[in-house]
């Protein structure tokens, strides 16, 4: 069920091209990640909406292949 970090980053950036994405492999097993996504596109959106935008970028893998992705979203300071 594992998915490489680079693939997660590529999917997010494909949907949110101006996003900055930082991914950490929490357990070193390629299965438990923490992602911080920072994008001007999040401005004015609720946290739920922001997370949904990332989930949509991941194309239905969240909760399935990616059952253990800890997600933090933020609007970059410059765009806030």
């Amino acid at each position: 069920m594992a998915m490489p970090a680079a693939e997660i980053e590529a999917l997010i950036k494909a949907a949110l091209p101006d996003a900055e994405v930082e991914i950490r492999d929490l357990a070193g097993d390629g299965d438990h990640y923490a992602a911080t996504v920072s994008s001007p596109a999040f401005a004015g959106k609720s946290r739920v909406q922001q997370h949904k935008m990332v989930y949509e970028a991941l194309g239905g893998r969240m909760g399935g292949e990616l059952h253990a992705l800890q997600l933090t979203t933020q609007v970059p300071n410059s765009a806030a």
Binding site: R47, K52, M62, G63
Partner: protein, 113 residues
């Protein structure tokens, strides 16, 4: 995968309508079956609010249905006064910012006894 039948929707409507704070989780607050669910119960405990929990592992209809109901792919999921708040990551962000406690105060939910 994420089928939501009319019966299941009615059941979930009932659960989120009848309880101020509901956590759909894996396992129970005493025996959480996943780290994210464990984190969610800890946050609610720190908020000092009374909450109902639903163990989705014991109920496959709810387990699949809640994902479609909330349009949210993961569990746990928190509802406060019938409103979807988010999963454990959002709960943690809100808790650290003091926003979750504020939300509970504003919604005047029942405190833990």
């Amino acid at each position: 995968m994420s089928d939501l039948t009319a019966e299941t929707k009615t059941r979930i409507d009932g659960i989120v309508g009848e309880n101020d704070v509901v956590l759909f989780m894996k396992g129970t607050p005493l025996f959480p079956q996943c780290g994210f669910s464990n984190r969610a119960t800890s946050i609610l405990d720190h908020c000092g609010v009374a909450y109902e929990s639903v163990d989705v592992l014991q109920d496959m209809e709810i387990r699949q249905g809640i994902k479609a109901y909330s349009d949210w792919p993961t569990i746990p999921q928190l509802y406060v006064k019938g409103e979807f708040v988010g999963g454990s990551d959002i709960m943690m962000e809100m808790f650290e910012a003091g926003e979750l406690q504020q939300l509970m105060d504003e919604k005047q939910v029942t405190k833990a006894g």
